[in-house]
Amino acid sequence: MSLEQDELLSAFVMESSENLSDIESDLLALETADSDLDPELVNRVFRTVHSMKGTANFIGLKVINELAHESENVLNLIRSDELSPTPAVVEALLASCDQLKAMVDDIENSNSVDVSALVANLKSCISGEAAPGATSAEDDEGVDVDMPNGTLVFLDVRQGDITCRISAGMNVFIVEVDLVVDVDEKGSNPVEFLRGFYKIAELIESYVDTAGLGELHEPLPEGIGLKILAGTKLDSEGFSAALGVPQERVHLIGTPEDNPWTVASPTPAVSAPPANSGAVADAAPRAKSEAASGQKPSKAKSSAPVRRESTVRVNVEILDHLMNLAGELVLARNQLLQMKDQTSERDIGGVSARVDQVTSELQDAIMQTRMQEVGSVFNKFPRVVRDLVKKLGKQCELEVIGQHVELDKTIIEAIGDPLTHLVRNSVDHGLEMPDVRTAAGKDPCGKVCLKAFHQGGKINISISDDGAGISAAKLKQKAVSKGLMSEEKATELTDQEAINLIFHPGFSTAEQVSDVSGRGVGMDVVRTNILNLGGTVEVETELGSGSTVLIKLPLTLAIMPSLIVRVGRSSFAVPQTNINEIIRIMSDDVAERIKRVHDAEVLQLRGELMPIIRLSDALGVDSFYESKDGAEASTDRRHDLADRREGEEHEEHPPREDVARRECNTSNALSVVIVESAGHRYGVVVDSVDDPQEIVVKPLGRHLRGIECLAGATVLGDGSIALILDVTGIASKCQLRVPSRDTDTGGAVSTADDRESQSLLIFTNHPEEKFALPASFITRIERVTKDQIDSVGGQFILQYRGKSLPLITIEDHISARAPEPTDPVNVVVFSAAGRECGVIVPRLVDIRDVDAEVDAETLKEPGIIGSIVVENDAIRIIGLLELAHILKPDWFEEKKQHAVKRGHDIKILLAEDSSFFRSQMTKVLESEGFAITGCEDGLIAWNTLLRRETEFDLVVTDIEMPNMNGLELTRKIKTDPEFKHLPVIAVTSLARDEDIASGRAAGVDDYQVKMDRAKLIASIRKIIGDCVSVA
């Protein structure tokens, strides 16, 4: 063929492929259109086929021409209303459409295809309708017609009268109308009703039901019940509305799609149609998808697949944009070339920034051209489901969501077959037959939902059905009977493991292997295909309710910004989206910032304790550190990061109490990357942090796929390989529990219930006496040598960072035994009344969350807030502020002066049911100079307000309280005309999003988490508008 003809041919192929997939959806719409048939729909199809015929003729594609010609004839008659688009006719057209598609796909062999059967079919559509309906013996049979509930209504109706209406595309209804109630009393009359009826329907049979009526000599009846058997093109809703009869009395008993009389059984007694006895069946599978973009048609089913040109449709705007960017890049490059000679650093910076930016934009735009909407794959499924449902005698509604989600072209092409298999599976194996469904109390029409959406950085496609679910037990049985495993092994399997057996090759639990799906080659091939795309597939199911198959696909070929980190000799990439921040801890600070809590290492970060893991541990890679002089790098075998001893091998695990004994020797700083994903937030310790880089994500090789810590791999600029870390995977591997959002109280371990827990630092003064300090009060823990402490006027002072820090020795203020003097000394530094103060804590034991009840009575004395029992030890909790107050009362006086506003003290109403917290908060706030009135619960607080003895400036309230909780209190305050100006701060340990939302809904002005002192005070000040800063 000449070059021109080649071009013509490929243009024809391309255009026809698109047109044919459009036709298919139009034809499906035609079938379900009923009386509101859009004439434009038919015209469109007609025109398409017509032009296809013309071009085919011109090029010499004879067979295509012939088939198109016959189809065109049929369409023409439909267009002029001479032929009704009954299901049979539409079926014939769809079959032709399929064949045309096949021929277009295999254009070179199209002329040798035999389409005689299809042509004959199309021809018979025309002649079949035109010929007067010849009555057969069947037609004259009398049939009984029941209502959906089985009541016999019409006896011995001529079958032909009914079937002819159905073949004409009408629905058949039984209407129960009461002439008095439904007609006269609505202002109409019987004659008018009839006129209306005949406009929209045909009468098959009718009568007045005299059963309940009286006789002539009795008073006239209140209603006349008329039963009508009618045929109409309207549906239930439309018919009922047009007649003015409520839908409950309009019963659909036969439609063209579900014709109970097609199985032309001669015995009239068979009034019940096969699948349902007169059930109201909306059988047509309606695909609720929005207009699909329909870019690429499905693959040809011809036996000799021809390599078609691979093309993509691109929006012209994107192309213009690309041209622009290319132009910009050229300009910038020219600038750069010129600048080669004049090396002025500043200028180069600007131009290279420009080149950088344009290149990025160009990259994005080009990637966009490869992205296609997933709808192009989804849009073939309505047809698939329709055909399947017909074949199997089931009823199904297909819902398609997310057609506009975009995927790379290669994935779109590859995902079609697996999806088809899964959808067919759902309909075939998942959905039950309508009668089984009804018996189970379900809607006889099953639902299959095909959904595409973004989540977790991946594209998710789910296929779910509300069918029978998958039986784990059955699968186990099957596995044993197929010899895939022994019976013992099978019983050991968990349900989920059993469900996953469906992915095993050679597995099919269908009773008969239908040719529709499942010759045992199905699911494992699906899975392999998806794995090859770098995706995952899982199945979830619930017996009786249905199943969902979830496919997750990476945005392969996506370019991902990431941070490169190094551990040992390897480089790893951390996805930018997961990175919160990067911290470098100087070696001096390591000891105090990194602690052990419950056998895990944690990092102290801005008042928060965050779990950390060593990447080397998580991945099993040797970590390096350089020795002090940097001379050699050797494997880091330290057990604790905080252990700064160099070079030795330690066999034993240093006991916790000896945290104090660590020595700071090396000058290694620690690099910690704080990452976050799916609720886990933690730090990853790496040897070093390199530059951020944009990388191309490649899927891992098969042998590495199972590793949950890794999400992929990439090649770096220098040619080496960096593995991409899966932040969620690492968290689960290291068994980091998902912490509650409420981490400000300093707890690394979450408490699931909402008992209020406190984070306490536990230490011993004298070895046998344990004390605790609320961790939230602690600013720092210092280790100082004895010579840094002076004794001035009977008081210990620490020379600390150029200031003198007063030190408290516990035994001087409360009843405690004096400890053995130690050197060095641990000092807990905290702030009180805006100044810093220290407490000597001889031996640190632990930091932990304690949610035991605080006993505020038993061991009470000044300086002790309360006591708790932990592991059979009674531990007294020290009130730091109280001690500070005892030591330095003048500080607090000064503070009070500062807090005066508008000539009077700021008065705060505090509602808190725990006496422990109440006294703590009172002390904290009083030390800031506020006047506090404390109340045990919301009701008391409210009554206090009502008494109006004090004019409060602010309310601070807990949420969980008896009698009246904080939310109710807030609402009362905010809706009361006298008090609604009062600002309310909620202070609570409940800090989930929903709690915060309900707080705000109640009218809370600020929401603070217990017990972040600094934040609470800041919030109070901010609200009051106090400009005096904390000293």
Partner: protein, 100 residues
Amino acid sequence: MNQETTASKECIVRPEGPITAARCEEFRQELQDKVDEGFVEIAVNLEAVDFIDSRGLSVFVVCHKTLSKKKKGKIRVFNASDDLKKLFQIMSLDGQFVVE
């Protein structure tokens, strides 16, 4: 259906004007009288009737019921306008049997 009427058993009634809820009591009485007189078949001449509402129709219906109980009698109509004819057809009172 063939109509077998014996002069004594069938009578003819010719109401005039619309048979509506307001006026149907009169009509009912008229029919009742005929039944009491022993007639088994009643033919109603509707040439002077232009409109029947549902209440009016109910008279025909109960009359039919009464008559058909006694010796298979019935009520029929003739000279009805097209509209009324259709109405009676749909009520199956133009000669066909009703399913009880």
